[in-house]
Symmetry: C2
Subunit: 329 residues, 2 copies
Amino acid sequence: MAEETKAPPPMKDLNIDNITENTITINNQGDDARLKYVMERLVTHLHDFARETRLSTTEWMAALNFLVSVGQISTSVRHEFILLSDILGLSLLVDAIDHPKPPSSTEGSVLGPFHTHDAHTISNGEGMSSDPNGEECLVVCTVKDTKGRPVEGVKVDIWETDSSGHYDVQYGDRQSPDGRCVMKSDEEGGFWFKAIVPVPYPIPHDGPVGKLLKLLGRHPWRPAHMHFMFEKPGWDHLITALYIRNDPYETSDAVFGVKQSLIVDFVPASAAIAQKYGVKDGTKVLMHDFVLVDEKETEQLRDENALKALKALGRRVKLLNHLPVPDLD
Amino acid sequence: MAEETKAPPPMKDLNIDNITENTITINNQGDDARLKYVMERLVTHLHDFARETRLSTTEWMAALNFLVSVGQISTSVRHEFILLSDILGLSLLVDAIDHPKPPSSTEGSVLGPFHTHDAHTISNGEGMSSDPNGEECLVVCTVKDTKGRPVEGVKVDIWETDSSGHYDVQYGDRQSPDGRCVMKSDEEGGFWFKAIVPVPYPIPHDGPVGKLLKLLGRHPWRPAHMHFMFEKPGWDHLITALYIRNDPYETSDAVFGVKQSLIVDFVPASAAIAQKYGVKDGTKVLMHDFVLVDEKETEQLRDENALKALKALGRRVKLLNHLPVPDLD
């Protein structure tokens, strides 16, 4: 016999009209208020989806088989469920909810499925791409706070594709990280490195997500961009990217990542810049100042946004560890 | 450059408030009206779920990793996504939507993840379980239509666990099908066979679905039952099960399958029955009459239910191949 924590509510004769309420009740036996709330909303939306579409058994089975294939093509370097979340706009949405940005700060963008944890740490001036076919460029950045003060010692992850539009992890014979690096911002909040000019590329579309895009008449392309991730204790984790102006996919990014404030220009290096950074005259240079938000400010903004949004939705909630749960008092 | 079927709508600066509308628009470029409607409802519910829970990046990542693990534990004989759908009440709901039953017909129940396509066909009187530890029983059934007329030549799939509560496919060393069979109803609509008395069993809970049940404080048990599936061209596909009365899990089935009309009794074989069917006096006997609905009647009922339900939900739809799509005229 099973270990039963509590007697579940009696259930029988479940049908279209009572299954939701009963599923929620049986899911409500644990002690985790947040999990119970998340499951209640999940079951409600899942069932409403089926009721509103009158989902057929054939469609249901096709969907479940699709989800199996999304899981099965995933590996330690390919997360097809992140990709699915990306093309459904969910990744953008969750980032926007979890990392609200005050007006003066750098906006976030989608993480995507290609970040890894094995990139080498490089020093200012070093290169992060070994692709001989890429067009070399210089990237000169700072990290500051919302008051314009430099933030030192920020761990910065940077990653981009090679000149053919592929990340290192997309090659079966990958020996070591390439097209990616980790840097630390210096005492002036600065970090600068050599890279290659980003190119547009299609997200991996040889798997189930690619099939879905095709069925939907959507292209799989992302505009040229370079990913950046910023981490330092006390500061809100910033995942973002810089997009190169006038890309053909600027307004049709397959994963909804482009923001006007993240669109940047390459400019040819002047003689002074070329000399200062040790590059050839005319080398394409990208200069950008990133602005981080301190963790407390983000937390406060996130809490305020949550309570305001849920009030507008007519949901009576309180925050528990900064996340909404029903307010039953 | 990508092959583009149509120019997508221009999109940039997507945020919590406009991402849903934009995702729906970009998904709307294909020609399949049904797919577009299903995706529109899916994206709406998925995004509303994230907005109503203020889903955090940590929770989102945990959910995506959970889904990967559900896909990865799945095999040709273990469909963990069906199991997930079962414990979330979705399987019951989809069956109820797709296979509406007029009052005089046999109700449906959940398919579960253990049906296979390799069961041997047996004749009346043969056995379908080789488990020497099971308690032998006799099952005597008929298949009729709603007017009480026998339906001949119906393909009937029957499957149950062994006496330890495991299906054959749960054994790594499975050589051939056991605890399952296929039969054909005879000219009187009858089919009868020997089996073992079903026992309650836990659904597979060594994987991600089991972990979720534990987190929710739910037990994984199903009440003792025997699965039946009926197929014949012209008749609505019936997936159902018979549940043994007074099972400890009768009102707490982990997958919501029990219906009062499907609860049955075993009775000891009388001398006459024992002689007629070639079993020992007192052998447990289960007798049941199944009632199929013809395909046309089901289709009509399904269509009516769909239009009625969607009208009640305030959605303006028409039916296309018997499935709702927006009525834009």
